[in-house]
Symmetry: C2
Subunit: 399 residues, 2 copies
């Protein structure tokens, strides 16, 4: 179990995870997240031109004021499946409406797994029927749901937050999955945030978009943008009155914080990874500049393998920053690795290479900090190292 | 030896490769390429904002009408070495001028190897003195030079061309090195082209820039742009009169052809690689669009590992094309892998997955072909697969 308390489940929500026979392994592969009343819903999706059928479906429905829940399957991405894939996304929503109320337009769907294979819609529909009796407001239901959405993840990813706003206790629960094909530009893989706060859908959409920019859009594993990236935020209002002003800001901060905690779990569970790497870039003209530099460093196979080898090879880091497509003032950045300065004013700084190598080897987390002098914008970005195990896992995943 | 004939050496050029003690392995690490008369010289360089001292030196001298040769060392990149690095590049050119004539401005320099370590200039100067008696117009001198510029390359890369233009036989010899940190945007690693054609420096520069666009700028290993990328073309005019008009076009075609042959040798020798992957993209609005799509596919770790695993995982290829930042008309590309169509009109095409897997496994070269319907521009791009051996090689390269 995830270590969350039952009291952390937002009021009015139930969940479950069941085995529908979509994953060849026979593991949990179908999750239901359900509200007992209509939710305001916001969504942020992949910007890949090749996007999955569930992304097309959800994009057409969010922001919304009438969402009753989400059906999620793992083991099949329902991506690059043409018109039949769209029909299957619709049938999934129709089946949920028939079983649980509302119309198909009140149900969002999400899929993750292999691209380009026909979704076994009959199994999914049968699985939905089986799932309904398992819906529970107990933590076990959300825990099962967080496991049912996993593909190559080695562990479920679930977070909770509570805050008192305007005399009400507001609860927020977040679930995510992802371990590879992580290189989002607008969102990443699957993330679901449920809250009993009452927020207007446009405000909810704006809060989610802002939170995603600093969380799911600031991570990568290998930089390959998925066809299925989806982050949804459902707010059912069970906690009380609609939030506005400073209360809305406090709620937005809560969402930001939960998204960041969830997002960093993804590279931390990156396929084959042995290190979580945090890249701080500051002193840039804009947030976009800082993130482009962080992303170039994060996506460099040479940086990732150097960290895997506990090699303080700062030349790879500085040269990656140099090709990010962002202009900067000479002499360029200063670089600190695990708290030790390695490079400044265009020249190496003498340092104890053995000690830095040891600090990389002995710690699970590695910190890279690049400081520019062009402005005051900054970013924190998370990635993982590249290992032979990543290659092994991905050299034979489908056929 | 490289299998080239002695008669393929451009007239007026000599070369050698010696051991100067710069590589810890004690292998050949210093190459001299020398003309017996002044050359027109063109250069194309890395666009990385972090560029090596030799790049700064050569950039200030090309195009030129007075170049006498090039001094190249491997084992040390002389990059991120500050003002001292620039002084060392100058001292290298000064030493060559003292030994072989002209002024320091008549000598180009190039370095490759580890970033951010002080160039052992004393060893390099002593090595130059030792090298001069070894200069020869025999093929053995060029062969030694092609070996002296290697770092993690497993084999030297050398090509030759001969053509009759305007009653003269024109000869062209090309050398290159590179096996990783290959993700050029303007040039790649080190390439040297020597010819006895007589060409004005501005025309030479234009020809080289055009050739690089379709060759060294169309390859990648892991997409990390080097600090030292340099391609030089030296034309000493020993073959006769200055070329112009159709004769110049014929010469440009010769340079294009030699650059493409050299360029594809680099991913073919990519660190740890088992497959050379050729990516053809056509039907795009512009060459830049086609190349951006090819580069996104080439740089995807998921595509590279799929080919390594002989997995016809077309979803990874199509989804990489979808995030290249290039808009295209629905339903997007058709995809052919090793001659078999896998995807068209936004849907998978039924195919014999075992047969395609076998064709990947049994062939050294893999062909990926993406066809769009947006225009008539096309590109051919070369990369290699990603293997556990690449990770092993790069997890402990410097310290």
């Amino acid at each position: 179990m995830s270590g969350l308390e039952t009291g952390s489940i937002p009021r009015g929500f139930t969940a479950c995870g069941v085995k529908a026979g979509i994953k060849p392994s026979g593991s949990l592969d179908l999750a239901l997240l359900v509200s007992d009343r209509p939710c305001a819903a916001a969504g942020v999706y992949t910007t890949n031109l090749v996007y999955a059928a569930p992304v097309a479906w959800d994009r057409g429905l969010t922001p919304s004021t009438s969402v009753l829940g989400v059906v999620v399957n793992a083991g099949n991405a329902n991506a690059a499946t043409g018109d039949e894939g769209l029909a299957h996304a619709r049938r999934t929503a129709q089946a949920a409406a028939k079983l649980l109320g509302g119309t198909s337009d009140d149900w969002l769907v999400a899929s993750t797994g292999v691209i380009g294979q026909r979704l076994p819609i009959e199994r999914l529909e049968a699985g939905l029927t089986d799932a309904v009796p398992h819906l529970t407001s107990e933590l076990s239901g959300f825990d099962d749901a967080s496991r049912a959405i996993m593909t190559t993840d080695t562990r479920p990813k679930i977070v909770s937050r509570r805050i008192n706003i305007a005399d009400s206790e507001i609860r927020l629960l977040g679930l995510a999955k992802g371990a590879a094909m992580i290189g989002p530009k607008m969102a990443t893989m699957l993330g679901f945030l449920l809250t009993d706060a009452r927020v207007e859908p446009e405000a909810l959409q704006s809060i989610l978009r802002g939170a995603v920019e600093r969380s799911f859009n600031c991570i990568s594993v290998e930089g390959h943008m998925s066809t299925n990236d989806t982050v949804l935020l459902l707010a059912n209002g069970a906690a009380g009155e609609a939030l506005c002003g400073a209360d809305l800001d406090a709620f937005a901060a809560l969402v930001n914080d939960a998204c960041i905690e969830l997002a960093r779990m993804i590279p931390d569970d990156g396929e084959g990874a042995t290190h979580l790497i945090t890249i701080d870039v500051d002193g840039c003209r804009t947030f976009e500049d800082a993130r482009a530099i962080a992303r170039a460093v994060a996506d460099s196979a040479l940086v990732k393998t150097a960290i895997h080898g506990a090699d303080p090879n700062w030349g790879r880091i500085v040269s990656a920053a140099g090709y990010a497509g962002v202009g900067y003032a000479p002499p360029g950045p200063a670089l600190t690795l695990n708290g030790v300065e390695l490079y400044r004013d265009g020249r190496p700084v003498p340092f104890d290479a053995d000690a830095v190598a040891r600090s990389i080897r002995e710690r699970h987390e590695t910190s890279i900090h690049l400081r520019f002098r062009d402005g005051s914008a900054s970013v924190r970005f998370w990635t993982c190292d590249l290992t032979a195990e990543y290659v092994r896992l991905n050299a034979d995943y489908t056929t």
